[in-house]
């Protein structure tokens, strides 16, 4: 291991690794109660892995968030992967991630089986309409919150609005990719200015 000079890597010392079995059990338990999105899950991870078990430092959790946020993918899962890596390198990362996802996968697959097996009765239809109405409201709230936290400058707001307008006609994947490239160009120009 190359020598590290800051305290970031302290918790990554092999001597402190809790062992894969204990990591697996801890993350399975967290995965089963990780309701409420990123914020709530970060709090859970902090309470369990930092405060209760003392395997990691609070800075590990904030760093995991800072470094995985700009990456593509579910940030909740990536924070778990990142922390798993610190707890046991690649095996730790893989085990932590899989164990964290098992409860969600099992519950979702069961729910899917149940929903698709429901009879096409009026009660069921109306209940699902109620659910969909709630989803629109919740997603609207998520959109509002994300826009406020992630689009804090004029160019970002312009990109957000333009993406909405073009997204009505153009493939979503393409819009995301092009926006990223525009960001790289703006970054370049700013740096050379």
């Amino acid at each position: 291991m190359p020598p590290d000079d800051d305290e970031l890597s302290r918790s990554g010392d092999p001597g402190e690794h809790p062992g894969l079995a204990r990591v697996a059990w801890a993350l399975l338990r967290i995965g089963a109660v990780a309701f409420g999105g990123l914020g709530a899950t970060l709090a859970l991870l902090n309470r369990d892995l930092v405060e209760r078990r003392g395997w990691l430092l609070a800075t590990d959790v904030t760093e995991a968030l800072a470094y995985t946020k700009p990456l593509p993918g579910s940030t909740v899962v990536q924070v778990v992967t990142f922390l798993g890596w610190r707890l046991g390198r690649w095996p730790g990362a893989i085990v932590a991630t899989i164990m964290f996802l098992i409860p969600a996968f099992a519950i979702m697959t069961t729910a899917a089986a149940a929903v698709f097996a429901l009879p096409d009765a009026p009660v069921v239809r109306s209940a699902l309409v109620g659910l969909q109405v709630a989803v629109i409201g919740i997603l609207g709230a998520a959109l509002w919150r994300l826009a406020r936290s992630e689009a804090g400058s004029v160019p970002l707001i312009v990109v957000l609005t333009a993406a909405f307008a073009t997204g009505l006609f153009v493939n979503a994947a393409l819009v995301v990719g092009v926006a990223g490239l525009i960001g790289v160009v703006i970054d370049r120009v700013k740096r050379h200015a």
């Binding site: 579910s74 109306s126 309409v129 629109i136 709230a141 993406a163 997204g167 994947a173 926006a179």
Partner: protein, 175 residues
């Protein structure tokens, strides 16, 4: 099955801004392009993904299950998290070098902003079948929005709205 895997692999690789921001790409690649799900089924899946623990993108299991049962659920889930997990692992490994990759952070910031804008498009796609049933239902969505912003838990809101839907049907209000 291969198509399912590839489509969810792409979704994972493009999910800048996190799981919720990825929903437009999920909608495009699995609903609009393939017709694997109707908009209403897609909305139901999102509702369940908010109500279950773990990431929103566990929605992959819901869609995969609908396409080819449990193997499909497993395939889609593995695919959607494959790229993000590998890059997160590498990020942990090379954290100090990564800090300097400014161009990559810029890419991520702008891609995320676009993804959030696209969420508006998804919202319209999800609202359309609801409006077709009755435009007044949007008032319900607005109420949920307000309640969520005031800190009410999404699970509570989903359960309540589902129950209201069921009860209104029993009460004789046909939608």
């Amino acid at each position: 099955m291969l198509e399912l895997f590839v489509r969810f692999l792409v979704i994972g690789a493009l999910a800048f801004g996190g799981g919720e921001a990825a929903l437009p790409v999920v909608e495009r690649l699995t609903v609009a392009d393939t017709g694997w799900l109707t908009s209403a089924q897609f909305a139901t899946g999102i509702g369940l993904s908010f109500a279950t623990p773990g990431p929103v993108l566990i929605l992959a299991a819901f869609i995969g299950y609908h396409v080819t049962g449990v193997p499909g659920a497993l395939t889609a889930t593995a695919a959607v998290f494959a790229v993000p997990v590998v890059v997160a692992g590498f990020a942990a490994q090379v954290v100090d070098k990564f800090k300097e990759a400014g161009w990559f952070r810029a890419f991520g910031r702008y891609a995320a902003a676009a993804a959030i804008g696209l969420l508006g498009v998804t919202l319209i796609a999800l609202a359309r079948p609801i409006v077709d049933i009755h435009p007044m239902l949007l008032l319900g969505a607005a109420a949920v929005f307000a309640a969520e912003m005031r800190g009410l838990h999404p699970i509570m809101l989903i359960v309540t709205a589902t129950l209201i839907g069921a009860v209104s049907s029993i009460a004789g209000i046909t939608l």
